[in-house]
């Protein structure tokens, strides 16, 4: 047990030094680099599993790294919500790295790519395990910086502009977060995440706390792609597909969500949240995001952009679940973190496999693709059905809990939003499936594997994961329920 407590730190430090070590491998030596980065991510994934295992047997623990001033500490803590995010990121990262070895085989600058890919893993783990807002903020900033080279990887004009957009938006958000952070620290003298929150509304005016809360929500909302602040995400699709898949469907955007949930339930706490009277505002903002993003997604012809808008819409589900301020809704939101991560990474991997094998990026060029890439397209179909929220694929369960949560909050209008969005999902995902399987196209049946095995295996494993998580709900729901219970703790203050 003694050594185990250092595992969270190990999970941050190990990929970091792994990344630095991989920088020693020359550009051309793929045969050394690929096994090296895969084993680094594999070890990280295994370590994540270990952490989760020990966590569920021995409960939470803390790890103080450095104290700057009283109340300002760099501190890690293992607790239920951290376990959720670390587990999702750590395990999916391994598949993404494996997939990258196939996808990046024909790309340039592989050395730079892998360095920053692993550095981002390190920072994501830091976000997951952070015990207070300061630590979270630190890793959050570094995640932005380390993902920037990945976004501009292509190096062309489009990628550079996307990078600039990404940086500007991210730092605007970071500035807002910092504002909220200072406001909170100034009033409460601590930034610690605590069950039930640390904020006591009586220490300042309501207006001041409302501003602080909105600073946090909009600040983290940049990465969580809440609608007026989402513009960086679709343009960041200029990045290579594994980056889009992992960073823009799982890690980066989910770190924004993670921040929002943390601020809501660990900093403010449910009592203060209700006192702020901003719940409906947040939920309404997110509802607009959900519907608008779905509608815009329908107009996209580039597959990755359509997926990006779908991401924006689906992230809204999670924020909506958190913003309903009740246990069931929160459970639904947290469930959707896992479900959306698996589903969306599968969809992006499929899109990447299509680009690698056929070079087609537009949906209108995919007619008849099911002949050439049946397995990939079956995986795509299953994930798409899951996205719509049709049982027995895993997207259904989060939708069910969100509906129950909306009713619990006494706002059936959000039920309409969720169902409307599900219908829009059907309207923009199913045509792709229909075109691929039933329309006539120029694709021919091929012998041998349809895509490189290093890409096909992650796709198939993940899509089986979708089915397993969708059918065996006892694998996720009870745990997520207990996490929601932990976050929703109202005995504090």
């Amino acid at each position: 047990m003694d050594r185990i407590v250092y595992l969270p730190l190990f999970l941050i430090v190990f990929p970091f030094f792994g990344a630095l070590l991989s920088s020693l491998i020359p550009e051309g030596k793929d045969r050394i680099r690929n096994p090296f980065v895969v084993s680094i991510s594999l070890i990280s994934a295994v370590a994540t599993v270990f952490v989760l295992y020990y966590f569920y047997h021995f409960g939470s623990w803390e790890l103080l790294i450095h104290q700057i001033a009283p109340g300002l500490e760099i501190k890690l803590r293992m607790e239920p919500f951290a376990a959720l995010f670390a587990g999702v990121a750590g395990i999916l990262w391994f598949f993404a790295v494996l997939y990258s070895t196939g996808y990046m085989a024909h790309e340039h600058n592989r050395r730079r790519y892998y360095i920053f890919y692993l550095l981002s893993l390190s920072m994501t783990m830091g976000i997951a395990f952070s015990a207070n807002l300061l630590t979270l903020y630190l890793f959050y900033e570094f995640l932005t910086i380390f993902t920037y080279p990945l976004v501009i990887h292509e190096g062309n004009k489009e990628a550079r502009e996307a990078g600039i957009k990404y940086i500007i938006y991210s730092f605007l958000g970071a500035g807002l977060i910092l504002t909220g952070l200072v406001l909170t620290y100034g009033n409460m003298g601590t930034l610690e995440f605590a069950q039930g929150g640390i904020v006591d509304l009586s220490t300042g005016t309501l207006r001041m706390w409302q501003i602080a809360f909105l600073c946090f929500i909009l600040g983290f909302g940049v990465k969580a792609a809440i609608m007026p602040l989402h513009a960086w995400l679709p343009s960041a699709m200029a990045a290579p597909t594994p980056v889009s898949a992992l960073l823009h469907a799982v890690a980066v955007v989910k770190s924004g969500i993670f921040g929002i949930v943390r601020v809501m339930y660990s900093v403010f706490g449910i009592t203060a949240l209700v006192g702020l009277q901003l719940g409906f505002f947040v939920a309404a903002l997110v509802s607009v995001t959900i519907l608008t993003a779905s509608i815009i997604a329908m107009q996209q012809d580039v597959l990755k952009r359509r997926l990006a808008y779908s991401t924006i819409s689906q992230l809204g589900y999670i924020t909506l679940g958190a913003g309903l301020f009740n246990m069931i809704g929160l459970t639904g939101g947290l469930l959707h973190i896992i479900n959306h991560a698996i589903l969306k990474i599968t969809l992006f991997f499929c899109a990447g496999a299509i680009i690698t094998v056929t070079g087609k990026k537009k949906i209108s060029e995919l007619n008849g693709l099911g002949k050439q890439m049946p397995l990939t397209m079956i995986a795509f179909t299953i994930a798409a059905i899951g996205m719509i929220g049709i049982p027995p694929i895993n997207g259904f369960i989060s939708k069910w809990y969100l509906i129950q949560g909306s009713l619990e909050a006494g706002a059936p209008i959000f039920v309409a939003v969720l169902i409307g969005s599900a219908l829009l999902n059907a309207a923009y995902f199913l045509p792709i499936v229909i075109a691929a399987f039933f329309k006539e196209g120029q694709f021919k049946k091929e012998k041998g594997p349809e895509a490189p095995l290093s890409m096909l295996i992650p796709i198939l494993v993940l899509v089986i994961g979708c089915l397993v998580v969708g059918i065996g709900l006892e694998l996720t729901v009870p745990y997520l329920h207990s996490i929601a219970e932990y976050l929703f703790f109202s005995g504090g203050n």
Binding site: Y148, I164, F171, A174, T292, P391, V415, L430, I434, I471
Partner: protein, 668 residues
Amino acid sequence: MPQEIFSYLPLIAVVIPLISFVMIMCAKDLAWWRNAWSLTGSTGTLAAVAFMYQHLSLGQALIFKVPMIVTPYNFFFRVDEFGFLIALITSFIWLAATIFALEYMNHEENRGRFFAFFMLTLSGTVGVPLAGDLLTLLLFFEIMSLASYVLVVHTQTEEAFSAGNLYLYLGVFGGMCLLTGMGIFYYNAGSLAITSQAALMEGLDSYYIAAAVLMILGFGIKAGMVPVHIWLPRAHPVAPAPASALLSGLMIKAGAYGIIRIISMIYTPDSSTMVMETLSSGAVNLWNQVSEAGYIIIWFGIATMFFGAFLAVIQNNIKKLLACSSISQIGYIIMGAGVGAYMGYDGAMGVGGATYHIFNHAFFKSTLFLAAGAIVYLTGELDIRKLGNLKKKMPFTAVVVLIASLGIVGMPLFNGYASKTLLHHAIVDAYAYNNVYALYFAEWIFTLTSAGTVCYFLKFLYFTFWRPAPGDQEGKVIKTEPILMKVGMGTLAVSMVLIGTSPYFVLNNLVGPTLNAFVLDSYLVQYFLDINLFYLSDLVAVALALVLGAVLFYLLSKYTNIFNLQIPHWLGLEYHGALIGKLAVLLWGFITLPFVAVQDLFGALSDFLYKRVFLFLQNVDYRPGEAAIFKSINISNIEFDMVLVIIALSLILTIAFYLRFGLTLFGF
């Protein structure tokens, strides 16, 4: 409540076809492999369902429950007599259609895919009646909906795609309606079980009503209820014949089944409330509200049956005619369900009649579609204006079609007679129940629709089989029906003859027991079981419909050109679909307009910000010139974010300082 016993049989019944699906997908192009697995799948399901009878005949209900699998609460099967009957006819007819399909599919492409999804659809369709709670039901309903899409678009023609799109999106919409309705229902009642809910006794608030409306809409879409029937006459004909047989014969019944379950079971007081001398006010209120809902549903049923018959009269494509006939017949069933709810505790006749008609219609409509398949398989033609004299060329099919047609028009001693008579009794009883005068007209529409049924079936029989063939078809020699087709159709035809000649047997052993599942007056149930089907008045009613239909047919063919009519485009089914499509696009334009505007606005704003703010910052770059390092921000040039961070920090510090001390300084 019947005794409940745990059994794996329901699970086996849905898993066997699922295994067949997977197996066929593994080796799609191997003919013997997929044929063997298709037969295994449908036979296995039939066997598993049939074995349930030994428990049900003892008055037991079969249950199977696994918590937290697939649905958040329970994956739950509960088989009562009603579910059993539906599952039994589903698996039986599926087997006959599978045998037929083995031969029929020889003239289609992509056979492996067809059989695989044929099996997946079976799994969904048989799962619906076996499901024990609403979410499990929804699961199988969605499987059925999505898997059958593949069957609908099987031919991959333009027509199939446009029909398939309508089918798929309306299906998804219906599924989402169901999901919403169930979500609302669960939130308020706290239970999803398909039984009477105690929570409803406390009065129906708007949530319960919304849930009921949404669920009935969801099931109604699948059932083809007017006005959401538009997908049906387009989707059913484009599928290959075995698939259309099942779509029309069985899958729309899943919708009717759902409606009956909702209004006559879930939204009905518990039987325990009825043993008390005086009803509690909650139960009375609930009965009254269900009765009101039933009255509305009766009229939906009447509209559906009449409109379907009207559409069928003007169709010239055999499969379209049969599809419209399905709408009409499902109208009978919905009407029966409505009467059941309208009369509440006394509604045995309505529910029983609807169940009996589900049973009968499944048989004759599947047979007719299979026969249409045989016709197109051998002649390559489905337009009745180009066919003729098939009674000589395809005598076997002619006999089968004759048996089925006599059944559907309600000829005594054929299988439709009993159920139509019961439904006729039901509507007459409904009028007598409260003397609502409108229901008297409903009875007239009922008779008129029956006459219409006779009319369009005379049209079908006369043009296709009896009259001499038109010019170019006369000399054409066609082969005789292959043996597998004969087996498939023959099985069903023989079953129909048996059912038709022994209505009392069916009534007492198959249809009658289903009423045990509902909360009904036992006296009226007994009345329903002991009813004499061959009263003179009933025979007169049927004779009236037959004569009226024959006269109508004669008059229409003699004095109007309606059977040779090129249907005006505004009456055509495609036109309706296209109109709905155009309306949807228009509506869509209106809905998206603000969103697109907002999107453009944000795009412009972000460009503006980029140009003004960022370029401005670039101009104050402290290392100006062509090689300004600023223009390519990367990790080596962290200064830019530092600038932003410092600006933000100083702003924040100012605010913080102000908040910490400024308030007191300024005397707040």
